[in-house]
Symmetry: C2
Subunit: 366 residues, 2 copies
């Protein structure tokens, strides 16, 4: 067993720009680099979550503008800071996984890769470890394995996986990937017991993924091969800008998983959360008796069910219910838990108005 | 007529600490020194409102800690910066009016004094001028005159004046001062047509006020006489700390108006507002189509009926209704229009917690 997992390389995908958690999250320091849930960044929590799996050191695929942040994360966790592949532009997950697979097989090795978004929360690490071990066994047998989150509510914000026949007692055939449903459809999915949330986590043998990519999305494979050939290796792999930008952008789901007959899904029931909104953070954070999550220098009067985050100044709230108040040194957001998805509209409007400075950076970080 | 009004001295009472408009209003710069309604401070707007009445230069009674602010207001309006009486502690309006009356009669003169809180809004200046002229005529005849605001709603936050018999077509006998009523009582007051809001504005002949004070509150009169005798005159009248602190604290209403038979009330229907809360400011400010009042660098998405004030940073609100967001460099308040009175509880809690710096000053003013 131990030997087996030493052939598993965790590949953290750190591609998100994280505008849904603006103004805490900025494009030059998106949510995966922030201590949003506890005192660790989400990248670090993702790395720490591997403890006990006996995997190889992690590899991180990230935006080149975040190179310094990624290096600090790797070194902070005790790893070689050069273990990163740096993208000049984001091309979605299929190319990210491809350059990782190409890099990991470059010396003739062919490990399993455990592809993990760097900005998810998983509360039950034992359950995560169990599911990962099982997924690795299936991937070692040639399966292209994804993880499906056991839904606890009819969420309309996620894609779903319809499960097919059982492969064994802890994995099923992938029957179909389905888009984000409306509320009625989501409810029917949850009731049926045949649907899981699409997590964006995978385990593949590198060569199996590259082979499938060559079959179903040959332009991506070819583009990534050319890109990696021309990339610079200097404190990490810096992907060639022109060649990577010319590579088609697509997700692993669309490019490979929807086409392959080798797909398998391992159900995961482990307190998973993609931290996709302030509402999601409120749901997973420690709340006081009034249901408030309060971070920083905050004074609360007759308020309940709210998420209040101060960052350097005194924040006071009075008579609010289900409010979201996110204070940063240069920008403030006030919204409600029910309408926190409007942060996207706020960021869009700021972008239209040319307020790049508000989206890019607080300008105040060390 | 002109000659007559040259014997009217406006006395601005600037005693309020203004915590109801925290965090914009701080004890070292309360609301009367802030440009809350337009680009002028409320003191300056009160002075400007006298234009056309041909009064003498104003005299301002204020807290000694605000001496520099008061001087700047007087000089900014083109008056002698020394025309201020500075209180070491607040003793309410009866002593404030008494030291003003004693000062104004010190050289043997005996003008009328027009006592005006320095932090009220009056939209219709012509109506204010008309009522003031009428009040001055009555005061010249020996009446102790107050202004009663014609109520436009059953407000429970104000005291009321029950009117008695008419004196003439624009003034009535004061039958009774009544405390803040409950909602049902307030409604009956407004329906009856016999009640006016207690404005805290007065016109007295100085000697008449001092005589009435000597009759009904002799300790206040005596305390103020002793205080003024021992005060320092150096760029304004600095009242003696020990003697003024030993003078009983009381309002003009309690000390004099409730006892005198010379009382008269002039109804005033002039868009009066005491700017006693953020809710009040929202009501009188220019609102956009969605009913929002937006000041400073504010981005609003799908929000309505809200009062949003930014002071130096980007403030964004999304999906809010009837919200109050007051941003200052060192403190933020978020509440709702319906519950804005809770700002008092916020300030009380900060005081309990020893957060004097948050109540006293932004620490950032020039």
């Amino acid at each position: 067993m131990v030997t087996e997992y030493q052939h598993v390389v965790p590949v953290l995908m750190s591609g998100g720009s994280g505008t849904r958690l603006w103004p805490a999250s900025r494009s030059d320091r998106p949510k995966q680099f922030l201590p949003l849930v506890d005192d660790r960044t989400m990248v670090r929590a993702t790395i720490d979550r591997l403890d006990g799996l006996d995997t190889a050191p992690p590899l991180i695929v990230a935006n080149a503008t975040h190179a310094d942040l990624v290096r600090a994360e790797l070194e902070g966790a005790g790893y070689d800071g050069d273990r990163m592949i740096l993208e000049p532009v984001g091309r979605n997950t299929a190319p990210a996984a491809a350059v990782a697979a190409l890099e990991l097989t470059r010396n003739g090795d062919d490990p399993l890769m455990l592809l993990l978004p760097a900005d998810h929360v998983i509360e039950d690490e034992a359950a995560f470890h169990g599911a990962t071990r099982h997924a690795c066994q299936l991937a070692a047998d040639g399966r292209l394995v994804t993880f499906g989150i056991v839904p606890d509510r009819p969420e309309t914000g996620y894609g779903y996986i319809r499960t097919g026949a059982p492969i064994d007692d802890a994995a099923l055939i992938v029957a179909e990937f389905v888009e984000k449903p409306n509320a009625a459809t989501a409810a029917s999915y949850v009731t049926s017991g045949n649907y899981l949330w699409n997590s964006g986590m995978f385990v593949f043998r590198c060569s199996d993924y590259l082979e499938a990519l060559g079959e179903f999305a040959p332009q991506i494979k070819e583009g990534c091969e050319m890109t990696l050939d021309q990339s610079k290796r200097s404190g990490g792999v810096y992907l060639d800008s022109e060649l990577f930008a010319a590579t088609p952008s697509d997700s692993i789901d669309y490019a490979v998983m929807e086409h392959t007959t080798a797909g398998a899904v391992v159900p995961l029931n482990a307190g998973w959360n993609d931290v996709g909104s302030w509402t999601a953070l409120h749901a997973i954070a420690a709340r006081d008796e009034a249901g408030n999550v309060v971070i920083g220098d905050v004074t609360v009067i007759e308020s309940s069910g709210s998420y209040i985050r101060a960052d350097g100044r005194l924040v006071t709230v009075a008579g609010l219910e289900n409010a979201v108040v996110i204070d940063t040194p240069d920008a403030l957001l006030v919204t409600t838990l029910n309408r926190a998805q409007l942060v996207k509209d706020v960021v869009d409007k700021l972008q239209e108005e040319g307020r790049d400075e508000a989206i890019r950076s607080t300008g105040l970080e060390a």
